[in-house]
């Protein structure tokens, strides 16, 4: 079993880096219409989801919890302009689910923007929203978010789950990068981002317990830290997490002294904004994996005692 301190330290460093580089969470109001204004919302939504996990698990140190709160306040006030940018995004692309996806974790953390909520309720009534073409895993995520918002998911989560890759427990040797991300995100949605590990059905949990070690070994060997971090999150969501020692040690060793986690192999160099765009996700994932794995390690300790 991996040293809990090592796991915890990865998250502490990641939060420090995210706080130091908070200005990287930025929108582009004048984005090329071909790219779209909403493209840059994703990092903000991911930050809120991970910070929510951090508060919920309650294993973060006081400094980490304080940084998480400051970061959330910063992106809500500065980046989202108190939610105004979400409203603007919604008005730019009324049928897009992105403002809803970004808003939900903020709402759960106590932030509020009633105009966004009215749009969500209206959109939810539209056949267009139900017919919105998305990958099966994203579809599952949208249904889960509708439930979390208090709406009846359309389609239901069990129906959405059926068409995902993971639900069919296919041949594990076919997994490559894109499929692996589908697997990790399917697990995030099924467990409400680690909050409800029992959201994994026994057959999916058993399938993951059998094959996850092979995938972790592989992406560790390839030094794909972003994906490895997500796989370590999946491990922490299993009924009996392995907290794989070689993987955690290498993951921790890959982290930079300032807390940044390279996405693949080593840190990129160049323009700070470009570097942020490459490594913010892997660094967020490092914080996410750290807090969930720390929590599970402490739970195991309590059980042993």
């Amino acid at each position: 079993m991996t040293d809990t301190r090592l796991i915890h330290t990865v998250g502490v460093g990641a939060m420090e880096w995210l706080w130091t580089h908070r200005d990287g969470f930025r929108l582009e109001p004048d984005a090329d219409p071909e790219v779209g204004f909403l493209e840059r919302f994703k990092p903000v939504g991911e930050l809120a989801l991970v910070c929510k996990v951090l508060f919920r698990e309650g294993v973060a140190g006081s400094r980490q919890a304080q940084l998480a709160r400051q970061l959330l306040d910063h992106v809500w006030r500065e980046t989202l302009d108190g939610g105004t940018m979400l409203v603007r995004g919604q008005r730019t692309e009324p049928a897009s689910p992105i403002p809803f996806e970004v808003y939900l974790p903020f709402r759960e953390l106590g932030y509020s923007r009633p105009e966004v909520e009215r749009a969500v309720v209206l959109n939810h009534r539209l056949d267009s929203w139900q017919a919105f073409e998305a990958t099966p895993t994203r579809r599952l995520g949208l249904s889960a978010f509708q439930r979390r918002f208090g709406l009846t998911p359309r389609p239901s989560e069990s129906e959405a789950l059926r068409t995902t890759w993971l639900a069919r427990t296919p041949e594990p040797w076919t997994v490559e990068g894109h499929i692996a991300y589908d697997i990790t995100h399917c697990v995030f949605h099924l467990t409400d981002w680690g909050e409800n590990p029992e959201g994994l059905t026994p057959d999916i949990a058993g399938y993951l317990a059998t094959w996850l070690p092979a995938w972790i070994d592989d992406w560790l060997d390839l030094k794909r830290w972003d994906l490895l971090g997500e796989l370590l999150v999946v491990d922490a969501c299993l009924p009996r997490p392995t907290l794989d020692e070689p993987a955690w040690q290498a993951f921790a060793a890959a982290q930079q002294p300032d807390g940044a986690m390279p996405a693949i192999r080593t840190m990129p160099e160049g323009d700070p904004e470009a570097v942020f765009d490459i490594v913010y996700h892997s660094t967020l994932v490092a914080a996410f994996a750290s807090v969930l794995a720390t929590s599970r390690a402490l739970t195991e300790l309590a059980r042993v005692r």
Binding site: P170, W173, P213, D217, D221
Partner: protein, 231 residues
């Protein structure tokens, strides 16, 4: 350079021999001898060395198709067993490979009256993780034969999930020889997780790596064993 040339020659001889075994396994053509008839001179030395490298799989058609091997082939095989005893400091896989050949020789050559050789130990795998275990088992894939018990096969039988993970790892790494060897073991092990999709997995390994006769050999052996072939 000479050494490298010899090594290339030997690799070529092993590939040729493996191709012959694969043809025999596929076609059930028992009339054609797989092993070279003559073992005199330099070419003979090379042929013997190739038989030693392939191990007991050199006589796999005789074992799996249950047909009596050509006495001339048995003689060559016996010569290879006797010409290359493992050295005192040989790696465990080398010792086991030789042990497997001696076992096969006893089965096919009635003139061998000596008792079964002592099994080498499996201690070197006691602490092995699933990655190393699978790699070593794949090297010893010629020991994966239906109904043929030994300490290595008993050890493999205790680790079906580990070997299945190793199969997945080998496929992901495009290590087709290891994947084929691990797949061959999996056909014999109890309690292999269904989700591994072994039948398609073996087809995939053959599709991707089957131009290597050593890969094709294990895949074909696995197919025959899956269809109920016994030794």
């Amino acid at each position: 350079m000479e050494q490298s040339g010899t090594s290339t020659l030997l690799q070529g001889a092993v590939q040729d021999l493996a191709s012959g075994v694969v043809s025999a396994l596929r076609g059930g053509d028992h009339t054609r001898s797989v092993l070279p008839a003559g073992t005199d001179g330099e070419a003979g030395d090379l042929a013997l060395a190739a038989v030693r490298v392939l191990g007991s799989d050199a006589l796999l058609p005789a074992l799996l198709l249950r047909t009596p091997p050509d006495p001339a082939e048995v003689a060559v095989f016996r010569k290879a067993v006797e010409a290359y005893p493992p050295r005192a400091d040989a790696a465990p896989t080398v010792r086991w490979s030789h042990w497997g050949m001696a076992r096969t020789l006893r089965r096919v050559d009635p003139s061998v009256t000596a008792g079964p050789p002592d099994e080498p130990g499996t201690g070197w795998l006691d602490e092995a993780g699933w990655q190393t275990l699978t790699h070593q088992l794949a090297v010893l894939a010629p020991l994966a034969l239906p109904g043929e018990d030994c300490a290595v096969s008993r050890l493999a039988g205790c680790h079906p999930v580990d070997v299945a993970r190793g199969f997945v790892r080998a496929v992901r790494r495009r290590d087709w020889r290891q994947a084929a060897g691990a797949g061959r073991w999996l056909t014999l092990l109890p309690a292999v997780p269904d989700t591994v999709g072994l039948a398609s997995g073996l087809d995939f390994v053959e599709l991707m790596g089957g131009q290597d006769p050593l890969v094709a050999l294990h895949v074909q052996a696995a197919r025959l064993m899956r269809s109920g072939a016994r030794v």
